[in-house]
Subunit: 412 residues, 2 copies
Amino acid sequence: MTDLIRSWVESANAETAEFPLNNLPYGVFARDGKPGRCCTAIGTHVLDLHGLEEAGVLDFGGTLRSGDWSAFMALGKPEWDRLRGWLLTALAEGAGAESTLSPHLQALSDVQLLMPFTVTEFTDFYASRHHASNVGRVLRGTNGEVPPNWLHIPIGYNGRASSVAVSGTDVRRPMGQLKAKDEAMPRFGPSERFDFELEFGAIVGQPSGGMIDVATAFDNIFGYVLLNDWSARDIQAWEFQPLGPFQSKAAATTISPWIVTAAALEPFRCAAAEREVPLLDYLQENGPMLYDVELEVALAPPSGEETVVTRSNYKHMYYSAAQQLTHHTTSGCPMRVGDLLGSGTISGPEKLSRGCMIELTWNGQEPVQLSSGETRAYIEDGDTVTIRGHAQGNGFRVGFGACSNRVVPSRG
Amino acid sequence: MTDLIRSWVESANAETAEFPLNNLPYGVFARDGKPGRCCTAIGTHVLDLHGLEEAGVLDFGGTLRSGDWSAFMALGKPEWDRLRGWLLTALAEGAGAESTLSPHLQALSDVQLLMPFTVTEFTDFYASRHHASNVGRVLRGTNGEVPPNWLHIPIGYNGRASSVAVSGTDVRRPMGQLKAKDEAMPRFGPSERFDFELEFGAIVGQPSGGMIDVATAFDNIFGYVLLNDWSARDIQAWEFQPLGPFQSKAAATTISPWIVTAAALEPFRCAAAEREVPLLDYLQENGPMLYDVELEVALAPPSGEETVVTRSNYKHMYYSAAQQLTHHTTSGCPMRVGDLLGSGTISGPEKLSRGCMIELTWNGQEPVQLSSGETRAYIEDGDTVTIRGHAQGNGFRVGFGACSNRVVPSRG
């Protein structure tokens, strides 16, 4: 595991800093309601890359002045490497670039963070063995076995890109058709079982027209965000047969504002669990394909402080983003810059590592205890759900920043 | 029913013309590999609206020079009405506009037709009672009953926008995971049960942020295209539980090149079948919400002439596009200009009005007889599938143009 790379931005060298020089995540900031500007984070600051390209210090064909990261992603991996290389040099301790760069630093606390890229399409997967097993138990009364195709296919479905929003955006409780098992007819009303889903989002940074080779699939992934795939369990239960979730997942999907690059996560690669049955050749992994990223979800009621309700890790997944992307292209499905792939709910093996309320509370039967003294079966209006994550290095961490969103009452 | 509106473009007045003055569909044409230009069709000609805006004859803020119809759609219904009104006047017999407009007419046979708009996201529904019933019988051995939610919810799922292509584009047979019931393990190979689906595509022309009222939902729909939702039945059967179709529907969805406007179809409105159970209030129809549009699918093997394999009608649907759009927004799901809503396979009550091969051949058990002497259980490489449709007026028709695509072998 690599050590901390020290920066002349002192706050980046703290052991618990989310944004040391090793990280260099990409985001978009704004001040005073002005248009968004591409930036990176270093310590407690953002470095205004839009401003650096404007000043002629950097030249990436104007893509850093385009308001989000989609145009830059389209340039491809050599340019991704060139920008990261430049930043690693210029921000390193002793680089002598302080006088050039300091005017372009701003305190993180002074800026607003916007959507970091344009989501072209959103696909959500279902890749945690523990999650699939728990959901089967709680909803279908199984003994924990997964669906017959699950050990062969990285199961996924198309989600809704228009409802992807950045951390900080209020999430409105959805209305929808609800029908409990003992009700004769459905009714229309606000979801009564509104849930979060702890996920990792992989961002496709290169277009493709044919099938991608799993051995090179990672070259197409620009980076990762934390992702909350908000889910109305009651709407889902009534609507999902036979064609899958639809309005239950369409109210919102929220993401953290920083794209942590694949390059920054490279030192934290780890292997997936052993295959229970052999995968078909096209999905055969070429090395350790997951990342050791510690994750947690905190829930804060309107009245009180937050309680961490689950701690999980991306390393618990059965399928990697490379395998998911490869499978996504088997049919010839074209991928475009800005395709967002949700990992699926990241549940670990322990009870307190489950990645959503339906698992944590066993569909509301065992409510979660909050430090405020309240309990929660599902998410209530006014609650704030915050996902945090970081990879732990040797005396430093690569952090993601928070994905934090408050639920507001439905319009119904 | 309205009568033919005569045009000074003589070919538009023929009884079987697809593009009389009553129609005025919107498309994008190109010649000699140049960029696409917005146009309408009149008789056997296209009228170059890009050229008319360039010449200052029309002024729609440059949207007619943007290369497709998305920017124009965003202007909203008053501008949609203004353009249609202008064209109805200028192209009418005796209008005296021949000298101005004739230089902007080109023979349809001389031009290539491109994608008429940018597909933002694609949603596919499942709204024919006969289709849902047949699919249950053939795949799940039911007695024709539909899923319990079907009579209450316009069932839909998110499809893949990146694979929507225009008529004329070759469709590559998808590869994918296949597993027959008697096979122990899945294998990877070309789909052996590749199917078409006869559908109607509704194009959302206005953005919305909250829930749309079913009474005004039609105001958000710009127009309609014929749509073929290509489906790999073997990939679908193995992958679709529990989260719905994914790669089985991602190889291609093809559409006809002309957007037939909601305004042109207005005289052909008709009521849906009686509700078998009452719908929830938010889906209650406000009047006749379907259109009487005759549809057919022809199949041409590489060796011979085409055979019409099914004749159906959009009036057979149980849910309208207005109901589907309304349901789509119940969760608060934002809709954007260019959202494409597939009606679902349009199967009628008769055997020869079924809208896909899995129904027509009962999953291959009763192959279709072609006029060439060949038979087809599913679509074979080199076959061309052509959807045609028109609304029949009093001595004229409002045609859609063909959605015609050839299947080429998989890359496997």
